[in-house]
Amino acid sequence: MQGLVIRGRIWKFGDSIDNGNIDGVMEGVDPEFKNKVAPGDILVAGKFFGMGASDEHAPRSLKQAGIAAVVADSVSNIYQRTLINIGLPAMECPGITSIVQEGDEIEIDFTSGEVRNLRNGQSRNGDRLPGLALDVLQQGGLIPYLKGEFTRKKTPVRG
């Protein structure tokens, strides 16, 4: 396990964005977003990010658009697991939306749980991801992680 720190420009979204609105790179909230977002950008959202159905089509669209990380005041449990499992770092960080404005650059330390706004120096503490989740992210998601695990360790993943 190594540390995971991501730095990038943010796009800020509101509360209660459900799976249906996330589909098609946030199409339900901002149809133009997919043309504005650049690889490496970070998505910041308010409370209850990823409510509703568990269909993976929507979170995969964020990953395909090159979004480097998701941070929200709160994230539905299944959504946070899904994002990490498809290789997109996601953190629940209460209060994050209160310290950032659209376009700010932030730095997220997934090991310590600290999120820092590089423009104004303010910070908030969120989830510290466990070693397993960091390992999964390091490998690009659960599928590549599982594929690599056997070869790396030469021991069964099961048991």
Partner: protein, 425 residues
């Protein structure tokens, strides 16, 4: 510090004495449920089985972690879309090659009902399912939560899942529910109280003397709709009724867990069941719940009784009691879809089907049915015994869905407007 029943089950699945709220843990799964649609190529062009076989190959095997713990069900019978036929074909192939369990045809219905009725859900188990309403199984004292596509592949390959131990909210139920008040009304009332996101990433625990009087069916409804409050899981600590139900449907081997007296809850609420009226949730959230009387006179075009929430025998009996000797109002349609063929057969034996026929209701074969398939035209209104009333859930976005118990649906189709079923008793 004591533990809640959810924490105890997670700790057992993790192989530890104790877990704490907020811990990220890796748990060993006791059962995995997969619905047919998850086998389609919608979420990944290789399909669930295709991705799984790649993973298994890299692990030097072609076998899943434990075929006897995997249950698949065909939720739509017959399949009506190419996605569904694709999913069902792969579900059958997977079952054949891996030796897992599949329900379809006369043994089937809606997966969540079928696996409960066949005794696959046991108290104390750690269960995950590739469908958001997997939380239903908590009614029998199990931990159960929904998982996504990639996680399903992970569980199939390793039998493990990682998750964060959730905060707990306790609802202590007291008193006795009045006539025509069942699990659906209680859970809608609770959703109305705490709001759509009221249980986000929490476990919901229902306890108290009020639970004693609730049927297993009502308990399943209480837990089924926990995901409508974005809970991780919902759970009812097992009691005598749970144990006698489990002896009926399973081999009787299971472990009972109870919450400790000093377990920690983020919130505790008391609910007096005797003060709850039959509830109706207006569009577009299940938490938009109010007493049925608030909607008096609201015109409807369709009633629907079915789904994993309220298509069980208790619901069919309640509907039949209202419909006995009455008819669905001309110009209004009532569609009844028993949640499983077991419930269908029982309804037939009890003469309920004859009552539905006499009332001019349409009875369909057992499946998820209209809950996930358009049946409304623009401007039409449906009152449904299901769980979701989001915009466009049952038709174009100009159609709307109200949620209630099965008796309220039946009564409303007799009058053509939302009606308090107690007026018909």
């Amino acid at each position: 510090m004591g533990m809640t029943i959810t924490e105890k089950i997670i700790a057992r699945a993790v192989g530890k004495e104790q877990v704490k709220v907020g811990d990220f843990v890796q748990a060993n799964v006791d059962k995995l449920y997969i619905k047919d649609l998850r086998f389609s190529k919608k979420e990944d062009a290789r399909g669930l089985y295709g991705v799984l076989l790649e993973v298994l190959q890299s692990m030097g095997t072609d076998r899943v972690w434990d075929a006897k713990k995997i249950i698949t069900n065909l939720d739509e019978q017959p399949a009506r879309t190419e996605r569904r036929t694709e999913g069902q074909e792969m579900a059958r192939k997977f079952t054949r090659e891996q030796g897992s369990i599949l329900y379809e045809g006369e043994e089937g219905g809606i997966g969540h009902n079928v696996i409960v009725e066949h005794g696959h859900v046991k108290p104390g188990e750690f269960i995950v399912g590739a469908d958001s309403h997997t939380c239903t199984y908590g009614a029998l004292g199990a931990f159960a939560t929904g998982i996504g596509f990639t996680e399903t592949v992970g569980v199939l390959a390793t039998g493990k899942i990682w998750l964060k131990v959730p905060l707990a909210i306790r609802f202590e139920l007291r008193g006795r529910p009045g006539p025509c008040v069942v699990g659906k009304d209680i859970v809608l009332w609770i959703a109305g109280k705490i709001g759509y996101e009221g249980a986000i990433n929490r476990t919901l625990e229902y306890t108290g003397a009020g639970i004693d009087v609730l049927s297993i069916e009502s308990r399943l409804t209480l837990c089924n709709m926990a995901v409508e409050m974005i809970a991780v899981n919902a759970i009812i600590p097992p009691d005598d009724r749970t144990v006698s139900y489990m002896r009926e449907v399973s081999d009787g081997h299971f472990k009972l867990y109870q919450s400790d007296a000093d377990a920690e809850y983020e919130q505790s609420h008391v609910v007096d069941l005797s003060r709850i009226d039959p509830q109706v949730a207006a569009p577009e959230y299940p938490s938009n719940a109010h007493p049925v009387g608030d909607f008096r006179g609201l015109k409807i075009h369709q009633g629907f009784i079915g789904t994993c929430t309220n298509g069980r025998i208790e619901d069919l009996r309640m509907a039949a009691e209202i419909l006995r000797g009455r008819k669905v109002r001309p110009g209004v349609r009532l569609i009844i879809t028993p949640a499983s063929f077991m419930a269908y057969g029982l309804a037939e034996k009890e003469g309920l089907m004859e009552i539905f026929r006499q009332a001019n209701a349409t009875v369909t074969s057992s499946e998820c049915g209209l809950c996930v398939r358009p049946s409304l035209a623009a401007g039409e209104v449906c009152i449904s015994s299901g769980n979701r009333n989001y915009r466009g859930r049952m038709g174009p976005k100009e159609s709307s869905v109200f949620l209630s118990n099965a008796a309220t649906v039946a009564a409303s189709t007799v009058t053509g407007e939302i009606t308090d079923p107690r007026e018909f008793l």
